[in-house]
Symmetry: C2
Subunit: 255 residues, 2 copies
């Protein structure tokens, strides 16, 4: 049974202000919920699931019985952000402190320079996860990593890729040895340029590209070569991030 | 001024059944509208724009004055699929006949094997456009290319990349010399495999990958190598398509 207060509270977590106030966020759907419950990274606040889901996942629920609520599918629909029928919704605690730049080993990581589309930011988290990038840093004007749509699009990558919000300038100041890379028009082909062994890969905002502030900080100006017959003005920000990460990792394996 | 009938008609075009009945679709927003009006590919049915937009684009409107309607921003909002304020909406005619497989030159083209997310299909169109793939073929269970969200996400790529709906089997039968490529788990690294000079690049459905029918038709089983420290189960379908297209074009330039 879902109380009116619970319903109101969960709905409030779709707004960044309330997520930050309570330091909690929402994770939905069978697959991500199971991954979350198996992960040691995130502390669960409460679980709302149908009787059916509970019966299928008794072991996962065992440690959370005090904070578990059986709800009807119709009740779940009222608090769900998903369009497809859903069996489980988890309220989780944000990590107590965000990743400090000094805590990561020298490797490649992403910096999201104002990405607005939650689907894009989620896809970039998933790219980081696939290519073993340990972290995604976000400029303060980037869509919130803990927004429901980013969490869902990340497909559980938020459990493995550390995230933190800070200005690129502050990140560069904290990691002065790290080269900064980003895609710009008229840069050098990512397939041909000499790439460093670690660095900060900046992904620009949709429809604008890198901010002038970010561009001024680049050590490596990369371009994904457009085909001579190609017509598009640009690639989607997530797609560009995926291509750069794939090529960087391939070149590291060769080099 | 927008009549109730016009409003109803335009709203109906957000549904595939009515798009197919009238063979018309909707294009919105300043940038894509201007591209569309400059393109010889698509015949315009009617234009709905604010007085301000009309004053800024007299030359583009000139050939369409008979089918041009000045509307107030508030009226435009009623018929718009966009969330941001908009100045122009165009109803356009679908091409009279769809691309026949026999009409394209040997090159790489995409086959969308049941992609469901309009943002993904739009991104794939944009990838095709950037990398000069002349065509995107879609399985009948793929989201409709002319749905408003695909058109918007394609950023005008629908004007340059030919599209057609047919089964992969029929496409292969029509292009018997064309090798079929697709990403599967446990395939060969796209960075290392010998790639053909042209072919059909199949993109699988989100969360499912290639259908067994499509997988059975593959000549080249590709994989985007996951980093040893990587955790994600898969990449987003659009991201995978972008990486494959980028690597294929790079390898062609080298080889």
């Amino acid at each position: 049974m879902l109380s009116a207060n619970q319903q109101k509270f969960i709905a409030s977590l779709s707004i960044k202000k309330y997520r930050q106030k309570y330091r909690k966020f929402v994770v939905e759907g069978d697959k991500i919920a199971i991954e979350l419950l198996q992960s040691p990274q995130i502390v669960v606040d409460s679980i709302f699931a149908t009787e059916r889901w509970a019966a299928q996942n008794p072991d996962l629920l065992q440690p959370h019985l005090d904070n578990f609520n059986v709800v009807h599918e119709i009740e779940l629909k009222k608090i769900s952000n998903l369009t497809t029928p859903n069996q489980v919704l988890i309220v989780a605690n944000m990590p107590e402190k965000q990743l400090g730049p000094g805590e990561i080993r020298p490797d490649f990581c992403f910096f999201a320079d104002g990405i607005q589309d939650p689907g894009n930011l989620g896809a970039i988290l998933r790219i980081a996860d696939w290519f073993g990038f340990p972290a995604l840093f976000c400029a303060p004007d980037t869509v919130d990593v803990y927004s429901p749509k980013v969490i869902q699009a990340s497909m559980g990558a938020f459990l493995r890729v550390a995230t933190a919000e800070l200005e690129l300038e502050a990140l560069c100041a904290a990691l002065p040895e790290w080269p900064v890379l980003g895609a710009v028009l008229g840069g050098e082909s990512v397939f041909k340029i000499d790439l460093p062994q670690f660095g900060i890969l900046v992904v620009g905002r949709e429809g604008r590209g890198l901010s002038p502030e970010a561009e001024a900080l680049l050590h490596h100006r990369l371009t994904i070569p457009k085909h001579p017959q190609g017509g598009a003005e640009s690639l989607n920000a997530g797609i560009a991030a995926g291509i750069l990460a794939a090529v960087i990792r391939d070149r590291q394996m060769i080099g």
